[in-house]
Structure formats: structure tokens, C-alpha cells
Assembly symmetry: C2
Homo-oligomer: 185 residues x 2
Amino acid sequence: MLKYILLGFIWQKPSTGYELKQVLDNSTGYFWHAYHSQIYTTLRKLEQDGLITTHIKNGNDHLTRRICRITPTGQDELLEWLNDPLMETSKMKEDLLVRVFFSGVRSTPEVEAELRLQRKLHEQRLEEYLDLADQDDDALCSNPPEVPAAELGEFYQAAILQFGVAYEKMYLNWLDSLITELEKV
Amino acid sequence: MLKYILLGFIWQKPSTGYELKQVLDNSTGYFWHAYHSQIYTTLRKLEQDGLITTHIKNGNDHLTRRICRITPTGQDELLEWLNDPLMETSKMKEDLLVRVFFSGVRSTPEVEAELRLQRKLHEQRLEEYLDLADQDDDALCSNPPEVPAAELGEFYQAAILQFGVAYEKMYLNWLDSLITELEKV
DNA sequence: GTCTGCATGTAAACAGTTACATGATTGA
DNA sequence: TCAATCATGTAACTGTTTACATGCAGAC
């Protein structure tokens, strides 16, 4: 999966591993996290498979940057993957749900404290998403859409943000009602 | 993580690997999937670490079953894990979001078709959750709660189901509004 | 002088998936 | 006879995480 995310971003703009890590952390990273170690090893593999080419660029400073560019083969591979539709739902892995599921043996105040901490974290996450949405709105106002293809990409990316917002709101509502019910006990 | 799920279920009731697979598929499997291969290897590891004991039981039939029981060490390990609260949100991995994110290069009808398929799958999933919730309601009516500890466990498990329902409703709403907006284009 | 950011990687360990493998019973 | 269910496992592979490793520049 990370393979396709990297191809997608490199196609949009030739990038270094470091840049890919940054861009991931502020966009797809919210629903597909990756450590820099995995990014660099995946990039090496993409290069070996001929899906990207890389070349080292020494700037006027001491730093060595390795810029990755997508090859036509890489573009084909990404398009092929996109055109092969998902036939199942993806498998959710939610640590908190597992913990709550087996929390019958725990003391209620401890569970409550954990839920409140999660509430705080999800509230922060919601704020981040809303900030990102505001930035997008500003960008759309100052740069009126010109290229239709790029516009469609932005439309999808905005839709993803809306998912994030809806998800966090749902999560907060669920935590709130669970906390309220626990307080009654 | 699977380690703790298995310990949790074995504590509730000594079970075989096969039974654990069944029970997982119809409860925690919705938010923490595992293949039988992983279940069996994890059980062997739990045994080696002294967290469970197993003994082979030959029934009146040809079948060989290996029943797993939790040890006091295993109980301690699970309690310790539960009492160490989660300090971050868990990392979401949603294949569909990645695909939509990079769908600017795809033809709109193809994206729409994929979204409609996902809509169907999530609708089915919601139905499954609602059926499970109905079963729970029935069970609560016919078996009035007697043991408070067990009752608390059921309360948490019902809360998890409510999460599942809220999640699928949110997902369906998001898919619907995305499909509607795509149709306008 | 120590911490943060830039920038790159490798190695080892752990988790998860797919495929292989066996063998009896029951129902269509 | 063919497929499904019960019941167990191993092997190989892929993906993910944690830890190790380096080194300069600029701020405090």
C-alpha cells in the first residue's frame, strides 16, 4: 500500500524521501502512517523494480538529497492498481475498542480516565482536520481553479478531509455517551 | 495485541484455537481481524511463555482438540496491560481513503462504481451489527443480569457494538454525499 | 554545549498474510 | 462424488515497528 502512496506523491511532484515523509505526515499519514525507515526501504525497492528513478543532488550546502521521479512503468503500475477496485472493506484495527471490550475486569474510574484522555486526543485531531479544511478553503479562494484534472484531485482530497472530520465527530460522540453512562453507575 | 485478545477470551472460558477463531470472527474480529494461522502460532507462544496451559482432549470422535486455559501469570499479564492506559490514538489504515485520495487521475464513473460497491458492503456490515444488537437485547430480556462483573463486561461489549453502528452510519453518509457530489459533475 | 531540524540510511524484531498440508464426517 | 465443516498446524513471505547510526547548521 505504501508503495502506491509514494508513487502517487512522486507523480504529483518529484520528491526526496524526507519530503515524502513530511507530506505524508500532513495528509495521508492520518489514515496510513509510515515511519521514515519504511519509506526509505520502499523507495529503494521501487527503484530496483524500475518504478522510479533517483538521482543525488548536492545543493550549495553540505546536504545530500536523493530526488525520486516516477517512470512510465511506475505510472502504469499506479493506474493499474487504481483501476482494480476494492472488493472488500478494509480491516479496522482499533486498540481502544479491544481494551474497552475486555474492560469488565477493570475498575470503572480507570476506564473513565482512559476514555477522557482519548477524548482529548480525538478533540485535538478534529481541530487539526478543521484547520486543514480552513487552509484549503483559503487556497481555493485565492487560486481560482484553472486546471480541471488538478481540481478533481483537490475535490477528492477535500472529501478525505470531510471523512476525517465526520470520523472524529462520531468518535467524540461515542466517547461522550460512554463516559456519561459510566458516570451513572 | 492478538495476544491480549486471546488471553481475554481464554480467561472468560477455556477454549480451543478453533473456538477462538469462531468467537473472534463474530465479535472482536470486526475491529481486530486474525487468520487461524496467526491464532495457532500465538497460542504456542503464549504456552511457551507460561501465560496459558494446554491439554489435548480426545472426544468420543476422531478429532483432536487442544484446550487452552489461562494461568495466574497470564491473568496478571492481561491485567497489567489493561491498567496501562493508551496514550495515543490508534493508527487508522483505510485502503479506500488512499484510493480516493489519488483518484484524480481516474475516470469519474469508475470511482463512482467503486464507491457504490463499498456502499453495499458497508450497508451489509451495518445490518450485521444491528442483528447482533437485537440478539443482545433478546439475551438481556430472557436472562436478567445476576452477576454484576459479567454485567459490566456485557455493557462494554454493547458499547463496542454501538461504535460499530455509529461508524458504519457515518461511513454510509460520507459515501452517499460523495456519490451525490460526483453525480453533479 | 546541547537541542532541534535537515537528511539519509541499515538491522533486527515482530506482526500479519498467503499458501501448503492433513484427515475424518456430513449432507447435497 | 463433491463440497463444506471440524480441527490442527507449518513455511515462506511481506509489511511494520523499534532501535541503531551518522553528521552538519543554527539557535539558545
